[in-house]
Structures are given as C-alpha cells and as structure tokens.
Subunit: 100 residues, 4 copies
C-alpha cells in the first residue's frame, strides 16, 4: 500500500522544520521506498512495515514536543504493487494520449 503522511508539533512555535528533519532521518533509515513532497511524505510497504515507521516518527516527535498532529492517507489496492512513481506516471500517460 502507499501511504501519504504528515507529522508536525503544534506547540513549539511557527517554525517546525528542525522537528521534521528528525522525522526524515527515521524515514530515510527505513528500507521502504519513499517520496518527500512539499506537504508530506509517501511511503510504500505492508501495513505493519509502514505503520512501524510512522510510529517511530511519532515517538521521536513526542520526545521533543507536547502536542503533535498526524495525518495519514492510505490507498490500498489488492494484488497490485503500485510503485510510488507509477501512479503519477499512469495519469500523465493517459493525459497525453487523450491530447493526441
């Protein structure tokens, strides 16, 4: 499954990028495919694998902040290994062919 998630502290003031940097280290130390974007990170793997990474990110952030916000969106399609890149590519390819 592909999971888009965002995590940030809500009690540390306006700038949160140093907290997010701690979370990036955990994501990048995992073996799972991931893609950072401007508003979150996509990770791909089995439920337990992905949720273990997100829980580690949350544990780390709770060491540094008293209140945190997490948002998780999951698209799961049985029997399909999507590949994080494949989804955007698929829609872009259809867009091109319908323009032809």
């Amino acid at each position: 499954m592909i999971v888009d998630f965002t995590i940030f502290p809500t009690d540390v003031g306006e700038s949160v990028s140093s907290y997010v940097a701690e979370v990036f280290k955990i994501i990048e130390a995992s073996d799972l495919p991931y893609e950072h974007h401007a508003m979150g990170t996509n990770i791909e793997g089995d439920w337990d694998e992905v949720m273990a990474v997100i829980k580690a990110c949350r544990d780390r952030m709770l060491e540094q902040a008293n209140r945190i916000s997490i948002s998780i969106r999951i698209d799961e399609r049985k029997g399909v290994t999507n590949g994080i890149e494949k989804k955007v590519a698929s829609a872009k390819a259809k867009m091109k062919s319908s323009n032809a």
Copy 2:
C-alpha cells in the same frame, strides 16, 4: 490520543453503507471509547490499541473489496487524557464565556 478515521471501498459502486456497517461492528466490539459522526469515527486509546482496531477494519474491508481508501487524523497531547467529548465541550464553553 484521539484518532478520527474514515475507511471506504472505492471499487464497489456508489453505495458503500453495507461495507461501512461491517467496520462499525469491529469498532463497537472493541473496548475503546468511540464517536461516530457523518464523515468518520473518532476513537480514543493508545497508539497500539487504536491502530489494531483500524487494521482489523482494513482487513475486513479487503475481504470485500479490491481497492480501499483510508484517512486517519491524530491529535496527540502528552499527559492529557482528552476524553472524546471534552474537546468540543472546551471550545463551546469558551465560546459562551466570550459571548457573556
């Protein structure tokens, strides 16, 4: 922590309430406090407790559908047992006092 989550199949046609009913059974069979609302369900508990319920909901739905969408939003505040009801009550109380 309080978790708001939504789960629905995306490949079974326009009506999804019979699928959602299966998920409600799992939520209501758990020991955790919960609150259904028009767009999802709030559950309160520790990370592992809440995520176990959501995973069970997802496993059940994947028995009935090939593609599912899950959305999870978490508000976690250290050392505070919020009580699902308490959050709305707190804002409503402040609203009244500022109207007084």
Copy 3:
C-alpha cells in the same frame, strides 16, 4: 455535499480551544446544517456556501495566529441531499439488520 473540516493555529502553544471557539461562532452564525465532533466539524451545503464559511473561519484565525493548519474532506454524491445525520443512520441500520 458534506464537508468535514478542521482548522487550528500551529504557532500559539499547546492550548488552542479559545481559537477554535472563535471559529465555532462563525460556523454557528451561518445558516448551514453542521455537526461538531471531537476532531472537527461537518457542514452541509453547496460548494460555494460551505467554502465561504471555511474561508471566513480561516480569515478569522489568521487575525490571531501567523501559521494555521486546515484539513478538509468532502464526500459529494450527485442528486442526493444526504443530511448529515442520514449517513451514520444508514450504516447503523444495515449493521442491525445483518445482526438479526
């Protein structure tokens, strides 16, 4: 359409309920059906009606905070006036009949 939305400041410290109370006033002054729950508010109406309320909430919150987070989830079903209450009722009714 039914819209579930959450709005909170992320730069004012741990407690945000006085800010949320300001937003509740705007929602409750609108003519649209709404339902507060522990993690957000559901509002029902046309796109322009609902988005005008959310924009007013955001404008108000930006008077009080420098950085805010908004989350909006929409379920839109053509030709159906769902009624905020109807969705939960429908799944609960199916749950009961499948238990019979």
Copy 4:
C-alpha cells in the same frame, strides 16, 4: 498558501487514472505552481486562486461520476511565500547539518 489535494471518483470501479488525467489537465492549465506526487497534488497560491482550480477539478469530475471524494490539506503561514520546493529543502538542510 500551499495546498495538498486529492480528488477521485468512488463509483466507477477500481481504476481511476483516466479520471485523474482530466483533473491534471485543469491543474496544468492554471498559472499556479504545482507539484504532482504519488498521492495527490500540491498547489500554491492565494485562497481564491487555489480554490477556483480545485472547484474546476470537482466540476469536471462530477460530469463523469456520481460520487467523488476530495481531500484538502492547507498549510498557511502569514507573510511567507513558501515556494513548494522550499519546504522539503529546509528540512533536508537541517537534517544534513545535524548529521555533520
């Protein structure tokens, strides 16, 4: 503000990429900076500009489907033009310096 949004039909079966392709055309025809990722699209602009694009995407999708799901997440920071790229870059830079 930067807005992450996802839109898909829920009544057309398992594959939705041809519907998403229609939406990509609208996003790319707008003048706003955007970034597609595996689970959605980030767009940057003023409230009215961004919401007009999302509404156009929703109108187009409702021509093709009876039921649609939309998710919108907004991070708004007063007086800051973030630049979609800047946010990831900022956290990555802090990650590197804390590893040094």
